[in-house]
């Protein structure tokens, strides 16, 4: 079973994503901040990261940079209320960029796609 790390400072969102992805058949780990996410990445095997951008202290773009330096380098989906970060080249290292929406179809589809692609490798 693939493990997805969901990183967001909004607890309600973490709860929603955790529930939806569990129901979709994934193992879910959540993190409240970039720092916590990095800690969890070091302690557990993670197949995919869903990463918010606007967070206090270590924001998503910084966190992304640190994740890319890890040996495991799991694929990352940036998930933000802002579309404008797309224009920031630092975000281009992410495997996908999905704007936050109450319709999780796209996010789920992207996650599935990336995990399947990884499984094939």
């Amino acid at each position: 079973m693939s493990t997805i790390l969901i990183v967001d400072d909004e607890r309600n969102l973490l709860r929603l994503y955790e529930k939806e992805f569990r129901l979709a058949g994934y193992s879910v780990i959540t993190a409240n901040s970039g720092v916590e996410a990095l800690q969890k990445l070091k302690s557990s095997p993670i197949n995919l990261v869903i990463l918010d951008i606007r967070m206090p202290e270590l924001d998503g773009v910084e966190t992304l940079k640190h994740i890319m330096e890890l040996p495991s380098k799991p694929p990352i989906i940036l998930n933000s209320a802002y579309t404008s970060y797309k224009d920031n080249f630092l975000t281009w290292a992410a495997a996908a960029y999905v704007v936050k929406s109450s319709d999780l179809t796209e996010l789920k589809a992207k996650a599935k796609e990336l995990l399947e692609a990884k499984g094939q490798n």
Binding site: N12, L13, T83, S84, D87, K100, S101, S102, D103, L104
Partner: protein, 680 residues
């Protein structure tokens, strides 16, 4: 003698005090010869019928009436009748002394007579026989007359002695002479010869001084006239700054009877831009008949110089149309230095062109022929060494020769006219500059306003953007949980409908947020080769719930062999959502929505057709404007954002509609050369 007779001004009466009529005759004959050469009529009268034959055959002096009355009042009435014409004339009266028996009446009659002559500005020559009046009577006539000559004969020569001139008794200076009874007695102590010689000498001296003084006086009078004329005309020129009006006033000044009195006048001005001298404006009759008609009209209506000027305000006098047509035919390049007009333009003095002119110019004939005149006076308009143009004047109708005096006054007037023209031009230039500055100020203000407005809009945009982003996250929670509950509980659940409402409303809010954000900062498209069918399907899928709720039947028609296009799929989703939302608004009771994608020449066309109310032709022009909406709800931004996004994709968007039948929106996406390959 000629000098004396010519020197007499209008309004004067000359009395010749003679011992005999024969002494008077040489003067009369000479006077007659002078009058016949000039334009003035001459009339003669005598005071006793018996004297009438004497006057016959004396040049232009035709005896016309005889004073027969014996009382003063009747005599005055008769005299008044005789000198009643409006026009000045030269009168010859004989035998003043024998007119009335009473010396007092004779003197009174003469005084009355001299007044009438002065009033009518005529000239009178009066024969007064010596011995008819007493010394006191003669002295009173001397007082009332303008000039009094005492004539007497010596050795068959007529000697004349001016007794009075210019209001002074010249005689008192040198005439030791007495009048007594019939005889003229030289003063005692002088013999006849000495007296005669002395008298002749003094008389000549006097005449010389007298005529010189007269010339000076005439010159002075002319100058005064000229100055007051120029003063009046200049004042009129300075009273306006409008160039056209100044030109008109110049021409009126040259042609008005109260002005320079030419028949016609033409103005030619230098066009600096095109480097030509061109005819601008003219005044004057085109023919004798017209001249007579105008002059009659003027005198009938008693039009003055100022009335003529006022005519400018009431439009062009039609009778000047001919001369204006003539003058506008004149157009000479400044570089044609040999051309008569350009040559004259470079002069500082006025000239007469035509026969008898100052110099001969080869082409002057052509100009004169065009203007239809033999001679023309031409004055250059020069201001501070800058050639402004030419002022031309002629006497087409009266054929009056153009004198040195005419030229001189034309020159003086031309100088003032030049100043007025130049001032008007400078004024106009300054006025334009001021206007331009004002325009700049208005532009600056508008720019400032735009800046402030755009600053306000950008502040507002920032706020909207912040709010939209902040709203997005809680909406994800609300909508996401509701969506999960909806899916898991299924349609059988008692709460299904309510949950669906939450889901739909959240999606609607999210769509609004997307629109606002796209409007505030649409961003440049991050384009990737995309199959439009995928975007279309996705949008339709997302909106499926809404279609069902609104009873919208959706169909798609995707033609084969449509290439991929380079688009930002998220932005194109916004575009399609906006158009579809718009279409649904026009179908409140349900309808059909069809999407088609087909290939065009160098583009892929996506069209969305509805069966709604349609858009009027007027609204169709504004449908892509920001904040244009016919809906009670809705931001009026959707289609505006759509058109901006399509423009950023270098595509085009347009709509066709028929009221009552529905609308179709077309979007053409350009196909790049590397996207030409067909979709699998």
């Amino acid at each position: 003698m000629d000098e004396l007779l010519e020197g007499v001004r209008w309004g004067e009466s000359l009395v010749f005090h003679c011992g005999d009529w024969s002494e008077f005759v040489p003067f009369v004959q000479r006077l007659g010869a002078l009058l016949e050469a000039g334009p003035m009529p001459g009339c003669s009268f005598c005071f006793a019928e018996s004297q009438l034959p004497r006057l016959q055959g004396l040049g232009p002096f035709q005896p016309r009436a005889v004073l027969a009355g014996r009382d003063l009042q009747a005599a005055e009435l008769q005299l008044s009748d005789l000198i009643s014409g409006d026009l000045p004339a030269t009168y010859l009266f004989s035998d003043l002394g024998t007119a009335l028996p009473d010396e007092g009446n004779v003197v009174a009659l003469f005084q009355f007579f001299a007044c009438r002559i002065a009033e009518t500005e005529s000239a009178a020559y009066v024969f007064l026989q010596k011995g008819c009046l007493s010394n006191a009577g003669v002295a009173r006539i001397v007082d009332a007359s303008s000039l009094f000559f005492d004539l007497w004969t010596m050795d068959r020569r007529v000697l004349f002695q001016p007794i009075k001139a210019l209001g002074r008794y010249a005689a008192r200076l040198f005439m030791p002479y007495q009048l007594s009874g019939d005889a003229v007695t030289p003063a005692s102590g002088l013999d006849n010869e000495t007296y005669t010689g002395e008298l002749e000498k003094k008389s000549r001296e006097f005449l010389k001084l007298y005529t010189e003084k007269r010339h000076l006086e005439n010159e002075l009078q002319r100058k005064v006239f000229e100055l007051s004329l120029i003063n009046g005309l200049t004042a009129s020129l300075l009273s306006t700054m409008n160039l056209e009006e100044i030109l008109y006033r110049i021409l009126v000044g040259v042609t008005a009877k109260e002005g320079l009195g030419f028949n016609r006048a033409f103005l030619l001005l230098v066009n600096e831009k095109e480097q030509v001298l061109e005819g601008k404006m003219a005044i004057g009759p085109s023919s004798l008949e017209e001249a007579i008609r105008i002059w009659t009209e003027l005198s009938d209506r008693h039009l003055t110089y100022h009335d003529l000027l006022a005519a400018f305000d009431s439009g062009w006098p039609e009778h000047d149309a001919h001369v204006n047509r003539l003058v506008r035919q004149i157009r000479v390049p400044l570089e044609e230095r040999t051309h008569v007009l350009i040559d004259l333009l470079m002069q500082t003095q006025p000239e007469v062109i035509g026969p008898g002119g100052t110099r001969s110019h080869p082409q002057s004939g052509t100009i004169l022929e065009l203007l239809g005149v033999v001679r023309s006076a031409v004055a250059p308009l020069v201001y501070r060494n800058r050639q402004l143009g030419l002022l031309m004047a002629d006497n087409l109708i009266s054929h009056k020769p153009i004198s040195e005096d005419d030229l001189h006054i034309l020159e003086t007037f031309a100088n003032y006219a030049s100043a007025a023209i130049e001032h008007s031009r400078l004024y106009e230039e300054v006025r334009l500059r001021i206007k331009e500055s004002e325009r700049h100020i208005v532009e600056l203000e508008a720019m400032q306003n735009r800046l402030m407005r755009s600053k306000k809009l950008s502040d507002l945009g920032e706020l909207a953007s912040k709010m939209a982003h902040e709203l997005r996250t809680p909406l994800v929670s609300i909508g996401g949980f509701a969506n999960g509950l909806l899916k898991r509980q299924g349609p059988e659940s008692a709460d299904y409908e309510e949950l669906k409402i939450i889901v739909d409303e959240v999606r609607r809010l999210e769509a609004i947020i997307r629109n606002v954000l796209a409007y505030v900062s649409p961003g440049l498209p991050r384009s990737q080769p995309t199959d439009l069918r995928e975007i279309s399907d996705k949008v339709l899928r997302l909106m499926q719930g809404v279609f069902e709720a609104r009873r919208i039947e959706v169909s798609t028609q995707y033609f084969n062999a449509v290439p991929r296009v380079s688009v930002d799929s998220e932005q194109i989703q916004l575009v399609l959502t906006a158009i579809i939302n718009n279409a649904m608004e026009s179908m409140p009771d349900g309808g059909r929505l069809s999407l088609a994608i087909q290939n065009g020449q160098g583009f892929v066309r996506l069209s969305i057709t509805d069966t709604g109310a349609g858009i009027s032709e007027e609204d169709l022009q504004k449908v892509f404007d920001a904040f244009f909406t016919t809906k009670s709800l809705g931001s009026g931004l959707g289609l505006n954002i759509a058109s901006q996004i399509i423009a950023n994709h270098k595509g085009s968007i347009y709509a066709e509609s028929q009221v009552g039948a529905g609308s179709t929106f077309f979007i053409n996406f350009p196909v790049g050369p590397h996207f030409e390959e067909e979709n699998p």
